[in-house]
């Protein structure tokens, strides 16, 4: 409104002066005055018209603002808080890791360093559909670590279908260190197979039921895999098939600073022999305690396992062949496993370290039939510095596969071997 009136005033003031000639022009001046008065009246009318239009415009704005307010009130009433920014549905991550180690059993070798792996992962959910997958590139192989699709039900239970972790014993890991413990090398920890798993958390209870058609790779002779399975890459060509798992855990003191998870696990599967085309079986059972009290963590697990393959004549059943990471080794067909781990998470106040957890993981296999026990004892620390995560482990092994002439089957040697292992990973 101000601008319109101001423009009219400027236009008027800019009108040229039209002086009349002669003294007798008084009359003409009066006429001019009348004309100006008429123009002023027109301007006043114009101004009134602008005001009317502006009033209508303001009314329209008020109505619009009022509508907005009503909508806003309705929104406020229906939602008790402001909407949070949506996180990305699928999180893409990865890691680049390097490792260096010195092995006491290899004389003349000062140690080795190099790339451990590069991996990419995808995790997330769209509505109730869940996704988790990870693909790994090692210098000597690449493989799908895991990959499954899932559905989350209204009671927070999940159904996962694909290559997923076998629910057995202490989860997610029965060790704190990078090299894990004996159960991993027996295929009884951090094992991934192809099938379906149902996970039901219910207050202090956690129940997991699973069926796996076979191990993570359809070809049981393919050793390019992450977790250890019975493989058909040796003399006795067996493969895991139709495996059932059940794991029930109860947490005492859940949500407090001192909680204790007690659990039992059972596993049964067929061992199909590709030569005899007959089905043997394998079973395992475990009970565990996972205590997190203050900054301490204590883990205990006892497990029994037994393999009963139906091998061709001439091939004994006193050794079972397991494979992964492009290698195969033998284990005792049956035995008892023990785990005793302790860890402490240090309080930190500086700006550099994000996590410092030190631990001692002890695990042992008592082989049926009198074979020499296999023992792993690892003392180390896990250090988190921003995106870097470092494992510094001193591993002492006795009659353990990958350490000198140690073996998880009968035989081997009663010698302690030491390895210093440092793994540095960049995770995103």
């Amino acid at each position: 409104m101000k601008l319109s009136t101001f423009a009219i005033a400027l236009v008027f003031l800019a009108l040229p002066c039209q002086a009349q000639d002669g003294d007798s022009d008084i009359e003409a001046l009066v006429q001019e005055l009348e004309q100006v008065k008429g123009r002023l009246a027109e301007l006043e009318q114009l101004r009134q018209r602008v005001r009317t239009l502006e009033a209508r415009l303001e009314e329209a704005n008020r109505t619009s603002a009022s509508d907005d307010m009503e909508r806003r009130d309705a929104a406020l009433a229906s939602t008790s808080s402001a909407p949070e920014p949506e996180p990305p549905a699928i999180d893409i991550g990865g890691a680049l890791r390097f490792t260096t180690f010195a092995n006491g059993s290899v004389k003349g070798q000062r140690g080795k360093s190099g790339l451990d792996l590069f991996r990419l992962s995808a995790d997330g959910s769209i509505d109730n559909i869940l996704l988790s997958a990870e693909y790994r590139f090692y210098p000597f192989m690449d493989t799908l670590h895991h990959g499954w699709l899932g559905y989350e039900f209204d009671n927070d239970s999940q159904l996962q279908v694909g290559i997923t972790r076998v629910p057995f014993g202490i989860l997610p890991y029965a060790a704190h260190n990078f090299w894990f413990g004996v159960p991993y090398y027996l295929g009884l920890s951090d094992d991934y197979d192809l099938g379906a798993k149902y996970v039901l958390p219910n207050g202090p209870w956690n129940i997991q039921l699973a069926f796996f058609k076979n191990s993570e790779l359809s070809n049981s002779g393919d050793l390019g895999r992450y977790s250890y399975d019975v493989v058909s890459a040796g003399t006795a060509r067996n493969e895991e098939s139709n495996q059932f798992n059940a794991r029930v855990a109860y947490t005492i003191g859940a949500g407090t600073t001192c909680s204790h998870e007690l659990g039992v696990s059972g596993q049964w599967s067929e061992l199909y022999n590709l030569d005899t085309e007959r089905r043997g079986d394998m079973w395992a059972a475990a009970t565990h305690l996972d205590t997190r009290c203050g900054r301490w963590n204590f883990q205990l697990e006892a497990a029994r396992y037994d393999h009963n393959p139906v091998n061709p004549a001439g091939i004994g059943a006193n050794r079972i062949e397991l494979g992964a990471f492009e290698s195969v080794y033998e284990i005792a067909p049956s035995g008892t496993v023990g785990i005793a781990n302790v860890a402490y998470n240090f309080p930190l106040s500086g700006d550099i370290l994000d996590q410092l957890t030190c631990y001692n993981d002890y695990s042992v296999l008592y082989k049926d039939g009198g074979g020499k026990d296999s023992i792993l004892n690892t003392t180390g620390c896990a250090i988190g510095v921003g995106p870097l995560f470092i494992y510094a482990d001193l591993i002492n092994a006795n009659n353990m596969v990958f350490f000198g002439n140690g073996s998880l089957a009968d035989g081997g040697e009663d010698e302690w071997d030491t390895r210093l292992n440092l793994n540095v990973g960049y995770y995103w």
């Binding site: 963590n297 998470n345 896990a382």
Partner: protein
Amino acid sequence: MGYTTESKRWVLLVNIRLTIAAALIALLAADAATAADYAPHTRELTVVSWGGAYTRSQIRGFVRRFEREHGINVEMIDYTGGIEEIRSQVRAWNVKWDVVDFELFDAVRACNEDLLVEIDPSSLPPAPDGTAAARDFLGGSLLPCAVGNVAWATVVAFDPEAVERAPKSLEDFFDIKRFPGHRGLRRTPKTNLEWALIADGVKPERVYSVLDTEKGVDRAFRVLDRIKPAIRWWAHGEEAVRLLETGQVTMTSAYNGRIDTANADGASYEILWDNHVRFRDAWGIPKNGENIEAALAFVRFASSTESLADQAKFINYGPLRRSSLEDLPEDLLARLPTSESNLPRGFDTNSAWWSEHIQELQVRFEHWIERPFQVPRDWPSR
């Protein structure tokens, strides 16, 4: 020297012209007076506040009336406090937030950093009885560039049906052995550090002197360590209520007004007033904005006796003008943090102290949250 006919005619013509010009200028002046004090292009004002029941109380208390009377649409958006966004907008000369509802200590920081427009207390509307605003506002509520609006409190709230026994003191909140269950806390060091020290035996009046030392801060974090695994963090005030609603926590810190509003909507939560911490909010106007005059008009409007009293009818936060309290009903006054029964059970946050220390403590606090207390269950897969 006599006037010639020509000169007479010219003088007459000039007089007529001047008369008409004066008339038009008068019209122009009349137009200017109706355009209030803000730029003519201002049709929308962005006001930043705390969301949920609090923003609703402002809309119902005075925002709607301001829109009607000034013909300006007010866009209310939510935030969770802090001055980082304002600093960024002001320094970039890209100011999208016209008016901000600050916690007082954030207003102090923003003021000290020269991020806010100065507000002359004499420009604020006087009380209905003519008392100047500077005398009508409670002490400490007016800053050189911020105008206090309400006082509220952070309290412990719980659902009596969800706990085996009701907590009686702040110490009970930190005792998860005797009072098991998860705890909700706002994701900020403010209040949490003070409460941790009080739960550890420090008197409220000594809290800030203890926090002035590195040992004192360490002590507070050690106390928070005790309940860290049981903590569920919240940012928006409504999230605290939601934690209670969904049974995710048995007790939570919360803004007192949010709990009262939830109870008015049918919930039956209880407030533990023991050692509640009182805060003040204040209006501030970021510099370098396009709508500063309209923003000033909004702050003046929102700071009136009537506006503050009207807001209090929709949320139990205490108006910072004495004149606004006069018309409030007794039962409402009794539920305010500043009521006679509640006042001695809490203490005022030290805004000056927090304005100095929030930056360093926020960094340490976030670090502390990210660092696991217990041995983590999920490490990077090997």
